[in-house]
């Protein structure tokens, strides 16, 4: 009879009988996706709170994307549960001494803040869609549906006078302000979940939440840039074929100019947070080596031996060093940015991997190792959800959601925004 974890765990030397890699690929995806949410939100707040004007175009986009990601963020942890339908227990009988229980509350708060902020941002749009539909006679079923959705979304407020819009603006600023610490909390918790496990020598460090927040912002910004560039490229493509209705930026050249300036601006912030994240990670590594407590022998053999490729080649070199150089070379182009942000995203993913899987690569005995073999071809529900396919599904889902949500919250077509 197979035990959970047995199928993808290979034990070497002395490992306790009950030890397996219980936290597998979905727990790698979980902080990765949560990080993207938090990062995207922080990016949008940079404009709303600190008034960094150059990020205006990116801010609205990032907020909607953060909302799409938000729904996907808890999915990996639910997929990982042995009893997914009991996941609701976290809200029903929360045990707040556990970081996972606190996550439920913070996640809900955060979701409420993002949704509220979006509502203020798009309220005018909802009213503008709903009112003409209201007056229109003999509506089709589709229009009825649209009318119904947008009426609900207005929450019964149809006043879009200058004064109320000013209030909206203020509310957004306040919400974005509260949102930054909550977003950091949200992801700090993800880090805390690992950092507070005293039984795990690799995870237990107070730096863990901070490292997670910094790399979260890095990954969030990178994904926003990537998605932004992709959408802009599509728009450029459409503009060149003159298929779009009249928009603010009509010509291909106009679009390109905007794209490059937005991307260059965002890249500066990406660089700033990246340097911060890498410094913290290196500090953690140096500190461990210098203090060299009991667990260091086994940690060293994992970090500099077994996981050397994953940590120093894939994460630090390909995921950090190369994109750093790419962004630092003057005259940043779109093509270079795309390569850079993809590598950054990969680097952050590898960091999550090295924490989650690397933290289980050695035994609690400090005298044995466990090797993780991720299930590729699924042959049952468990190897699907905790295998390559489950992880890829989780990664693709936010983009599908974004496409759907963008129908209600138009990201580019707004003539005027806050």
């Amino acid at each position: 009879m197979m035990v959970h974890g047995e199928i993808w765990t290979a034990k070497e030397l002395f490992v306790y009988p009950n030890e397996y890699i219980y936290w597998s690929i979905q727990i790698v995806m979980y902080p990765f996706m949560t990080g993207l949410v938090a990062g995207a939100f922080v990016l949008s707040s940079l404009y709303h709170v600190f008034g960094i004007k150059q990020l205006k175009e990116m801010a609205r986009f990032a907020l909607v994307f953060s909302f799409a990601l938000l729904f996907v963020a808890p999915l990996p942890i639910v997929l990982h549960l042995q009893h997914p339908f009991r996941g609701i227990n976290v809200f029903m009988t929360p045990h707040f001494t556990s970081a996972i229980a606190a996550f439920g509350i913070v996640f809900f708060t955060y979701g409420a803040i993002v949704a509220s902020e979006l509502w203020f941002l798009y309220r005018k749009h909802f009213v503008e869609v709903a009112l003409p539909l209201k007056e229109k006679q003999d509506k089709t079923i589709g229009e009825w549906l649209k009318f119904f959705i947008f009426c609900t979304l207005t929450l019964g407020v149809y006043d879009i006078s200058e004064e109320t819009l000013k209030r909206d603006h203020k509310a957004i600023k306040v919400l974005a302000g509260i949102g930054i610490p909550v977003a950091c909390f949200l992801h700090g918790y993800a880090g805390f979940i690992f950092g507070s496990v005293k039984a795990n020598a690799l995870w237990m460090t107070p730096l863990m939440p901070v490292i997670f927040i910094m790399s979260a912002i890095v990954s969030g910004i990178a994904l926003c840039m990537l998605t932004y560039i992709i959408t802009m490229e599509i728009r450029k493509f459409l503009a060149s074929r003159k298929m779009t209705p009249t928009q603010r930026f009509q010509s291909k050249e106009d679009l390109k100019g905007v794209e490059v300036s937005v991307v260059r601006m965002t890249a500066k912030y990406l660089l700033f947070f990246m340097v911060f994240a890498i410094s913290l990670e290196l500090l953690d590594l140096i500190f461990r080596g210098y203090t060299a407590v009991k667990s260091w022998d086994v940690l060293r053999s994992v970090i500099y031996g077994r996981d050397f490729t994953d940590i120093f080649i894939l994460q630090y070199t390909i995921g950090n060093l190369i994109p750093l150089i790419l962004f630092l070379i003057p005259g940043l182009t779109i093509r270079r940015t795309v390569v850079g942000v993809i590598l950054v995203l990969f680097g952050v993913f590898m960091m999550r991997w090295n924490v989650v899987i690397g933290g289980q690569a050695f035994s609690l005995t400090f005298a044995g190792y466990m090797h993780y073999h991720m299930p590729i071809i699924p042959h049952d529900w468990e190897t699907f959800k905790e295998g390559l396919f489950g992880a890829v599904s989780v990664f693709i889902l936010p983009f599908v959601l974004f496409w759907m949500i963008a129908k209600v919250f138009p990201v580019f077509d707004l003539k005027e925004s806050h």
Binding site: I88, T93, F96, T97, A112, A115, L155, V157, T164, R167
Partner: protein, 156 residues
Amino acid sequence: MKSHVYRPLWVVIGLVCIILVVRYFYVPKDFGIGRRGYMYGWHRKADVEFWKNYKVKYKGSAYCKDCHSENYNKLMQSPHVIIPCEDCHSPAIDHPMDPQKLQIQKGRGLCLRCHYPLPYPTSGRANIPSIDPDTHNPGTECVMCHNPHNPLEGLK
């Protein structure tokens, strides 16, 4: 408070209320903080009874004594007196009703648990008489020659 700015807040409060109502019906009434406090005692009280009422399967050698007195008494006189009946005969559970017959462990592996030679200094294992299973009548069950209830009575 008339301002439209508070509308999202009402929605959130509404959601919280829904969660609280669901919680009222969903959570068992005996769920609460036990004597070990919130950190260590947050639980559903009925679960303690569940574990208390779990079925006992190993009944102890005294349970065998009355019906199987011959073997029992023999064992009492032998060095194997320290081995409880159920170690080799499997748990009694509700024997003789359920199961009617116990599954007796007879293979060489059973005896080798103690009698495989592992002369480890500082361990009690070093003091147990042992045989090398590769040279000592390989393939034969130990009970063919030895009586486990009284190993000293001589070979069969």
